[in-house]
């Protein structure tokens, strides 16, 4: 393998990994945008989404098959279910705390994370669940570069979801309300915007995107378990910080950048794959030290 092939391969792999990070990072950043909460339960919504997608697929695979069509339908079901779960979590756990100090609500988020994780642990007995699909291992071999069909569909799906989100936020009434709420909640209330509903919609979309990522990860990697959301939750958080937390475009960019950095980072001489996570979280620290607002974030006086 020449360095050129190897470079392209890292690029492709980085994009795939980055798509997952970006989808999950979007939920972090949207929620932070509207209620200034670092929703640490977000990674667990990704895990819940993977299980919901698994359930959805076993429902529909009978008549749609377990190929991409079945997986897409399962993914939509999972997005719907986990979106609703996200709204319920917001109503039950976060809404009553909105007036409380920022730290209290952060602790609530950690508690929600533990509840979801342990519920999944109890339900699955801590075992890995095989996510069976009919997806083959096929792909294109371009020289030494290997591009699987699954990778292409995955990146394309992520791109479609992100473009849809961008259009929603920039072109629709609710999107405009969402942006307004993130700037000034009180003023929005005075202007007659139903802030509570906007927050609910934000949670619905953010959780739905996490579920989409979870289902795709399950289908792509082939197994799911209760702890799968932990690491990706932290990494998506890192991606959101790199892009500038609160910024939607920033989260997409941050996710892709982190995916690429991880992919290339493991190929720096003397840095083996064992240093992958050290590398990732060092970047988080560096960004926090030197550019706490991230690449596209707006500077704010008060931060959590």
């Amino acid at each position: 393998m020449t360095w050129y092939d190897s470079f392209l391969q890292q690029l492709v792999d980085g994009l795939v990994l980055g798509s997952f990070y970006a989808l999950v990072a979007l939920g972090y950043t949207m929620v932070f945008g509207v209620i200034k909460l670092l929703n640490f339960a977000h990674g667990d919504l990704y895990m819940t989404g993977a299980f919901a997608g698994f359930g959805g697929l076993s429902l529909v695979s009978g008549f749609l098959g377990a190929g991409w069509l079945g997986i897409f339908v399962a993914m939509l079901l999972a997005m719907l279910a986990v979106g609703c779960l996200g709204v319920v979590i917001e109503r039950v756990a976060y809404h009553p705390m909105l007036g409380a100090p920022r730290l209290s609500i952060l602790i609530t988020a950690l508690a929600v994370s533990l509840v979801l994780q342990n519920a999944a642990l109890a339900l699955t007995g801590g075992q890995y669940t095989a996510f069976r699909t009919d997806l083959g291992f096929g792909g294109f071999n371009l020289g030494n570069l290997f591009l699987s069909h699954n990778q292409i569909v995955l990146v394309a799906t992520a791109a479609v979801l992100m473009i849809a989100l961008e259009l929603f936020v920039s072109r629709t009434l609710y999107g405009r309300a969402m942006r307004a709420v993130s700037i000034d909640k009180d003023m929005c209330r005075m202007m007659g915007i139903n802030v509570s509903a906007v927050i609910a919609v934000t949670f619905f979309i953010g959780s739905g995107l996490a579920a989409a990522a979870g289902t795709m990860a399950g289908a792509y990697y082939g197994s799911i378990w209760y702890f799968m959301g932990f690491l990706i939750g932290l990494k998506a958080f890192t991606a959101a910080v790199i892009g500038g937390i609160g910024s939607i475009t920033g989260a997409m960019l941050g996710g892709l950048i982190l995916g690429l950095l991880e992919s290339f980072g493991t190929h720096i001489p003397f840095i083996g794959s064992e240093w992958k996570d050290v590398f990732t979280f060092s970047i988080l620290i560096l960004v926090l030290v030197f550019k706490p607002t991230g690449l596209l974030g707006k500077s704010e006086v008060e931060r959590m």
Binding site: S6, Q10, G126, Y128, F137, N141, I232, S273, E274
Partner: protein, 373 residues
Amino acid sequence: MGKFLKLIASAAVVNLAAGSLAMAQDGPITIGVQVPTTGSEATYGKDMYNAMMLAADEINADGGLLNGRQIELVTGDTACDPQQSVNAASRLASQEVVGVVGGYCSGATQPTLKTYGDANIPFVIVAANSTQLIPANPGNAVMINSTGDDQAKTALEFFEGKDIEKLAIVNQGDAYSQDLANLTRDAWTGAGHTVSAFEYVNKGEQDFSALVNKIRGSGAEAVFWTAYYADGGLLIRQLRQRGFQGTIAVGDGSNSPELFNIAGQAAEGVFAFSNPTADFLPAAKQFTSDYESRFGNAPGPYAPLAYDGMQLMAWAIDKAGSTDGDAIIKALNSADGQEWLAGPISFTPQHTLARSNFVVLEGQGGKWTRYEE
């Protein structure tokens, strides 16, 4: 301290000792079972627990131990986690268990050796087999599974038999898989071959694309995964997905049927080094049918060893003629090659099994079959 206080103190100690002695003489004999019943290795843990329960129930039905005393099992869940395992071990020790049988993950077993050593509790380690356990053993534990040394030797012979020159070795950084990886690397380079990649992955990581590229880029003809099935299944899948055509072999932590669930089609033709599992043991026929009729599924890879461990502990308690820790430890070490399900057991001066028990398996049609060269 005044003489009076000393007197009271020693009287209290005598009282306490007498009390526990009286209790210990007629109550059931409590044996601790240290296995992961939750977490990523729960499949193995529950399977081992079932096998031990089967052994204990058989012994109890035959009239128990030491003139009719019944065996009672208490579980300590290690979750394959060093911190949780120390808590579990302390809890077992505080419940005054007569002995402990179990130990699956070496990383989680290692710190418990000290806990049991301090409490002078005899410990039969049934599955964990990292060589790092040997120096950590204060003398109260015996290992009835062959160690990583034996497995590295089996791996060397296997890969040489496949005419492989460049080998990639991947582990997960825990005591067991790192130990096996190091031993194999030393054996492989020692025999004049090349280790083209020596890598480590984080537990719970799902994306191995960078690793797979590195392995392919290194020109490795074979990959040896030394860690557990859950992540191993993912790695095998991604290796095959990305067009790796070479030989793949996995260590004894991955020889679970679950590997086929996770890796699917990619697990076909994968080799595994295995401790003797029930399917390949002529002596385990009765055990297998008993196990199946009771639990509704076939015994897993460590079930025979777990069964043997419990039987060995019971044998040692009977031989010692008491529940005294020292006497049982002495009895355990005097095991002199009697036949158990998994073959004869006797121990080296380092308290390890005195023979190698590894076999090579191949994945075929969604299950493991014995591989004959």
